[in-house]
Amino acid sequence: MTQDRPMKEGLIKKGEVVRWLRALAKEGKEVLVPVETDGKVGYEPLSSVKDDKVLLDFTNSHRPPKGVVFPQNEVLLLYETEKDKKDAAGKIKKGSLKVREVRPEMKETVIFAIRPCDARAVAILDIVFSGTNMDPYYWARREKVLLVGLACAEPDLNCFCTSVGGSPGGKEGLDILLTGIDGGLYAEALTTKGVDLMASKAFEAPGAGASEEAEVTHKAAIVAFARVLKDGVVEPKAVAETLTGKYEDPYWDETARRCIGCGACAFLCPTCHCFDINDEGTKRKGRRVRSWDTCQFPDFTQHTSGHNPRPLKKFRIRQRVYHKFKYMPDNIGVLGCVGCGRCISMCPMNMDIFKVLVDVKAWEAQAKKGAKP
């Protein structure tokens, strides 16, 4: 739910940011901040980071902070069969099976400087894990998480959020959006939780025109998208429509040929949410664990009968594109992609989902040409 007008505005000097965050940590919150380790940016607890290591200047983190609300491994329940006991008469009483549901417990957590695309991804996960899929494990974490976004000043090479309805200054999913302007970071609280977070002396009143300045920063980033500069913007609705008729097209086989079927794209994706559930342990004692899974693994759709409806790579590549750009919009009204470009940057064989979108756009153009009388 994007707000047109922020509930509260403020200006924080760059030098005050860490002080503000440390104060939040003192209140008992867990604060995650972007830091660089071995050349890669990741979100680490503020308690383990020195002041001058907190980044305000980076394109995006290597991995999305999705793991805070949807960790790679989540224990769902614990089970244990009690030992057999002998009662007073010497008769053996078989131990009963005890099952205990486990709910994740976490402190209030602030993710500082999450990018609008990753925040939008969390908003998408909120929808996925709601409704008929209301997921108590997800929400036990999500309710405790606050997102303080940092608008992008410059995109990464493979970014394309504007082609999927996003923006470098996007507000979806955020409690606060910070944008770099002259004099500091312009802060907009978008939820009541955000307003509470901003109740700190670190925030001054913004000058007149601060909001407009922030808009300028956002617009400057928008026109810097390399992919869009090269291939133009892609219209997501048109993509979904065009995909309808292209299910059996040989394009998917050609594209899939160089895919090696690893899970790197899905595991680095901020919106991917598929999982597998496994029981780990012995017959007597163990736990049921949910772990990340991906439709790109061969046994994702493996049936017990031995049949696999997606036995070849082309089916799985096609599935990835269709799920993100057609099925999710059709079924739950949101795209399954926020345009962060990580899948493109991480793929060892240069699979490129933006190129696929551009090709789909070309199909659409062809179809229009053909449709003209």
Partner: protein, 140 residues
Amino acid sequence: MAKPFEPKVVAFLCNWCSYAGADLCGVSRFQYPPNVRIIRVMCSGSVNPLYILRAFQQGADGVLVSGCHPGDCHYLKGNLYARRRFAVLRRLLDYVGVDPKRFQVSWVSASEGDKFAKVIKDVVEDVRHLGPQKRLKRRV
């Protein structure tokens, strides 16, 4: 009062030589520590490194594989393949920080009951000094 640490050692013994040697050891009443859990396999060459890692995964503090002396393998060359395999495995375990004394290999023939007892004693003592194995142990 805390119980002193008693190491758990899993021993894969080849049926024809080392297992028979262990039998002879027992019949001859040579004493050896009760810390060892014996698994009989047909040949030391049939021991997959996966079993060794699995033993560690399930909480073993030390693993011993014992087979026939080279040249005496019931299956002619099984122990020679084992020797190659375990040389590589031992070095790899050392490299990732698992003390090589936790994984030991011995040749014990069917007539070496006394050697069997000594090998077990020495292996258990080595592992006892190293303490519990936590690195590869599954933490469920």
